[in-house]
């Protein structure tokens, strides 16, 4: 089995079968990761460049680990400033790197659509590690994979995505991914952080966190992305925490169990309290762990391998 796409630019482009194939492949790699020797030689002699035009801790480490565990050679390229302010354009940078015989590109970029633009100009597979406010497909896949691990299936599950929907590529990718797998999605946050036309994607919208939590089986709490807001879109972090923060008191009052997720990095005490993030229903660290297996699966499948051993 192969993926229907050459690049992983976004969940938008994937079919349900693609996602299931990625999950099955990830199952195999997860088994590999629990062995004493965690490395397989599957991508030996494959060189992968990790182009990070924007800061990242978790995603970059996760990709690098996934690459190394598959036996690939990796190059890391990070710049905190954009390509434009550096003077060299994206195509030039990438072509320079590719001329040194690189086989795959993993890219994070602050501009929505940057990997799509790059895909029109280079031949090797591109994996989107987050583009602007558009998509973060590997995050959505590992999120869905983690829910699947916990609940066996996503079909019919109710997932609330809480917080800064407007500036979150995680939200958009999650919406597409969860819907393709048959889950229902509701978004919640202050109205200024909810895109005006989000309902056109077939999700429900509420501004009341309690109502959302009452409704859902899984709550995916997003980080407040202050760095993406040109002008403040809510009055203060204090007020945000008061009205949109997920805390233990709120969860206890619901008399039901909800799986708690967060893509990280966490602003503790703002969108989520420590006792929730570290509590018994949190699968935040499982998400991180699954991230490596998911990324191994994607690298493996896009490298042109047909099925996992």
């Amino acid at each position: 089995m192969r993926l229907s796409v050459k690049h992983l630019l976004g969940i938008k482009d994937l079919t349900k079968e693609d996602i299931e194939l990625i999950f099955q492949t990830a199952d195999n790699f997860k088994a590999v990761l629990s062995r004493p020797i965690k490395k397989v030689p599957t991508l030996r002699d494959t060189t992968i460049v990790n182009l990070f035009y924007e800061n990242s801790t978790r995603t970059r480490i996760s990709f690098e680990l996934a690459e190394k565990r598959l036996g690939a050679d990796t190059i890391n390229f990070a710049t905190s400033s954009s390509s434009v302010s550096k003077g060299e354009g994206l195509i030039d940078t990438v072509n320079n790197i590719l001329s040194m015989k690189v086989d795959m590109v993993v890219m994070r970029h602050s501009a929505s659509g940057a990997p799509h633009f790059l895909a029109n100009h280079i031949q090797v597979p591109i994996i989107n590690a987050g583009d602007g406010t558009n998509e973060h497909p590997t995050q959505a896949l590992l999120d869905a994979y983690s829910i699947r691990e916990k609940c066996q299936t996503l079909r019919g599950k109710k997932v609330a995505i809480i917080g800064d929907i407007m500036h979150s590529r995680v939200a958009l990718s999650n919406i597409f991914c969860l819907q393709k797998l048959g889950a229902e999605v509701l978004v919640v946050g202050p109205p200024t952080l909810i895109p005006k036309h989000i309902e056109s994607l077939g999700v429900q919208v509420t501004y009341d966190v309690r109502e959302a939590l009452q409704w859902c089986d899984v709550a995916n709490v997003l980080r407040i992305q202050l760095e993406r807001q040109n002008k403040p879109l809510f009055s203060s972090l204090r007020e945000y925490a008061l009205f949109y923060g997920v805390n233990k008191k709120l969860l206890d009052s619901l008399q039901k169990e909800i799986i708690i997720m967060h893509p990280g990095p966490i602003n503790r005490g703002v969108e989520i309290d420590s006792d929730v993030a570290d509590g018994p229903h949190s699968i935040i660290l499982n998400q991180v762990e699954n991230g490596v297996a998911i990324r191994m699966a994607i690298l493996y499948l896009l490298a042109g391998k047909t099925s996992a051993e």
């Binding site: 659509g113 940057a114 602007g132 036309h197 994607l201 040109n230």
Partner: protein
Amino acid sequence: MQLLIKKVTIISPTSKYHLKKKDILISNGIIDKIADSIVEKNAKVIEGKGLYVSVGWMDLFADFCDPGHEQKETCITGSKAAAAGGYTDVCLIPNTNPSNSSKSTVEYLKNNSTIVNLHPIGSISKNIEGKDLAEMYDMRLSGAIAFSDGKKPVQQSGLLLKALEYIKTFDGMVIEIPEDYSIAQNGQMHEGEMSTRLGMQGKASIAESIHLQRNIELLQYTQSKLHVTGVSTQKGIELIRQAKKKGLNITCSVTPHHLLLTDNQLITYNSLYKTTPPLRTEVDRKALVKGVLDGTIDCIATHHTPQDWDSKQVEFEYAKEGMIGLQTAFSLLLSVNENIPLETWIHLLTDAPREILQIDKPEIAEKSKACLTLFNTHEKWNFDATTNKSKSTNSPYFGQTLTGKVIGIINNNQWHFNE
């Protein structure tokens, strides 16, 4: 120098030859004779199947990037593109470097007129900073045809109020693109379902209607003259319709691409479709077409905006806005397949802009100066590197075969014919 145009159908409602098939003889830039059949051995003969002639076309809003951005376009290359597209007259926006904010730049542009007459639009504010009034009166006397801050619409209401008042001295006109920056903010495209799917910041339709509403209020207060160009929304066109009913001196123009394209084109993040105002929805597009049919839309403006390769071949967010449009305008209008008669399009390209700008309308009559555009509606042609005359290629139609060909123009005792 004589030119004989054989068996050409004349489209010119003000001419007694309107819709008649005639031969036209032009001598030394003057229409010498119009008759059923003319024989003139020494004349260069133009003939062809389905040949039409109208008065020379006029564009109300184009950027020739000269001076300052000559890597994108110059007065020479821009004029060649205009001639190839059938335009004898082009109004140039002031967003050059230096901006067209003084008599000297107005004169520079006017002096670059060749077969194509260049009509400089002076800036409203000094250096297009949006703060203080530029020397509009002086520019007007030097030949500025109207006033606008071009691609940077005036955001300060007080400044536009002053400008609208000030131009009354010399019967001037203000041209504005309707866009409120505080609402459009960092929007990259129309705000709607498509921008949501693409994860891009959008420009809401109200960024247009609020700005327009404000401008109409200011117009009513000042009783001055306003032209709105690039109207792109259903609400926008309705506001103009209502303002006209109230008797305000308001006119508007639309671009060919807004009549044809919607935000669905942006699905692949192709920066060639990044424009200001942005491409909107099918509902908006239909409303614009309706505006053409019921006369709310007064004329066509190409918003010809050349951008070099490096300005477009970057991430969408960093890409500059606009597309070139002078050479493709006519074919694009013909492909707006909504039963709009040819005569309507020709009116919007010829008499309408001149009426708005209150300048002399050329005529198709014996002994009149020859200012003509020749075209047909059936011939296919390729818009590619061999036919493109602009210095830039930023058009989604580049490389495509289009229908309806401009044969050439005659103006200022010169002629240009496309191959």
